[in-house]
Symmetry: C2
Subunit: 410 residues, 2 copies
Amino acid sequence: MNAFATHFRLTEEDVIIYAKDTLNLFSKRARLRSKEIGDGNINYVFRVWDEDTQESIIIKQADILLRSSGRPLDIDRSRIEAEALKQQWQLSSGFTPKVYQYDPIMCAIVMEDLSDHQLMRTALLKIQIFPLFAEHISSFLVNTLLPTTDLVMESANKKALVKKFINMDLCKISEDLVFTEPFFNHKGRNIILDENMDFVEREIYNDSELVLEASKLKHYFMNNAQALIHGDLHTGSILVKIDSTKVMDPEFAFYGPIGYDLGNVIANLFFGWANILVTKHGKEAEKFILWLEETIEQVVDLFKGKFIESYQKTVTEVSFKKENFMNWYLEDILEYTAGTTGLEIIRRVVGDSKVIDITGIEDRTARIRAERMLIMSAKRFIKERDCIITGKDYTRIFRSLYDELYLNIE
Amino acid sequence: MNAFATHFRLTEEDVIIYAKDTLNLFSKRARLRSKEIGDGNINYVFRVWDEDTQESIIIKQADILLRSSGRPLDIDRSRIEAEALKQQWQLSSGFTPKVYQYDPIMCAIVMEDLSDHQLMRTALLKIQIFPLFAEHISSFLVNTLLPTTDLVMESANKKALVKKFINMDLCKISEDLVFTEPFFNHKGRNIILDENMDFVEREIYNDSELVLEASKLKHYFMNNAQALIHGDLHTGSILVKIDSTKVMDPEFAFYGPIGYDLGNVIANLFFGWANILVTKHGKEAEKFILWLEETIEQVVDLFKGKFIESYQKTVTEVSFKKENFMNWYLEDILEYTAGTTGLEIIRRVVGDSKVIDITGIEDRTARIRAERMLIMSAKRFIKERDCIITGKDYTRIFRSLYDELYLNIE
């Protein structure tokens, strides 16, 4: 077991010995079991539990190669994930899994087992309602983001964090997959339904204004070291149960624009919404849709309210504490939020990395129409981003495109 | 001579032994002489020369304490200066002193002796004309800045440079002295002529729109890792002779906004201009003023022309190579340039760090008026920065305020 010479990848058997003998996390007599439960592409996630006491932990090990393609990926992301998780746990008072230990040699994060939660993406597709979600996620965002800006931190301390969280490889993935490939069909990696090919060509590739705005948003993403953001905050990075919300997997964390996190949450709620709108009918579905619509609005509006409240309490720096600066700063965040919402929608519909909310729509006509209405609302989120500032601005645009493109299609 | 235990500060005697015996830069028999020629606050600059051959070098040693106050200052700035100099020398084909060697233990940069040049600030006050200056400085700026952006560099390589050039202490100096203290009289460090106290209070401290714009520019400075900038490009960092321009002292270098460098050059040319306008008369002064006015215009316009030319040759990245993106990017640079010009003018007139161009105006009434016209043009550069895009836009504003506030004062 020479972890120094090459990367030693744990198996279900190894991880028991590792947890018991190397990390001393269970008693020597414990009868441990383990299971690899990861569904991602770049890491291995083991649940390890004691048969008798039912005590359990998660051990997440980063691999040096992508699971799918075998392409190498910077292993430093594991340190970044562990450090971001610890910081977010502390700042958000527990809206992430608690990290018990990080092993930099094995690139393994030992953390709280949240198997009593489920992935939010899965839960939404089962039309389950989480009445506290908007409250929780807006608190998580405000509490993890604002305190890491140089509005609150000392200039030098913030710069030290910027340095610590430079995340070359994973930022490059976002730069390519979110901001570039979908708009240029760069490297030919986009995956589009045949029936939507012409539509995408006309509405995306040939819309030079849209492509320009996407490029500006990309440049902003690459250059604005605003806050320590999660960097990949879709509903597959969020665990929920009825009274709890946990944000995990911040391996894309780096100093970037605040609006990038908020916009990703909004876009991924829209995917759930689009799925249920076109696949489910009846009372229960209607109730769910109403809740989700309200939730999207609340995520935006609660974020704004809590942001202002926290700003007024914590920003004391002489240049930044004034109300007119705060208003400008918040408008800038909201503008980038709307832009990101549009970008995330387009990249999931057009780009290489899909979401089950859309690919899982079995009725082909329904999926074609859903994709079109998503694309058209995304375009408005991007182009009109300086006017999209309330929760209702989002749902209004989406609703009108649903009516126009989905219901009234010839 | 224990350089490891504490910082060993060289004297004129030590530096001869150091150059000959430690660095082996001269023959063992050379009869060396040395002189400390630094006029800065944070470093010691030695000229070392061979009495017989007249070969010479400069050794610049960073101290761990400020010369004036004894306050400690991050010694890492010395590494940053050496690395920035080497990179700028290469990118600009020699518009900086050539670095022969860097000694990280002694924090000493051994470099080309440019004693045949003079400080540009001094030369301007002697109404000396440098017909090639606009050509040279615009080439220096375009050639050192654009290639370090992520428009030209690979995303990961650029991020590695951002990390390498995180420059906490010296950025903090700029954040305080340029962007904060002058607008709030923060820490009471501003130094203002009694006769201009009310004027400054009304036109700066109480102009909430101006203060807001300065705060936005500060936030941009702290968060926009656009290019490896010089960071302190005033006329005291530039050496000139009739056919040569050399930019030195990049210890403030970090990844920041391109417009910050260009704006500093423009502002400092205005100081020379203001000085001569109000202190000198006659044919020679008039000729000088004409040249300087033209030079200010050319610095802006040549920068733009060369920037576009270089952009079209070197930017091949799919999102950024399009002409509409380039135009937006250049406009953004020019906007920040005008803002910086205004900030640099205000901080030198109002703030703690003065320039001899202004403090050297002996006629008190002339100085009072010169300061007022500088402040009023600075305000326009800041507030109207999105419309200031040609060289003439600068000189026109300055001229009109000279006519209004200097010539027609009651």
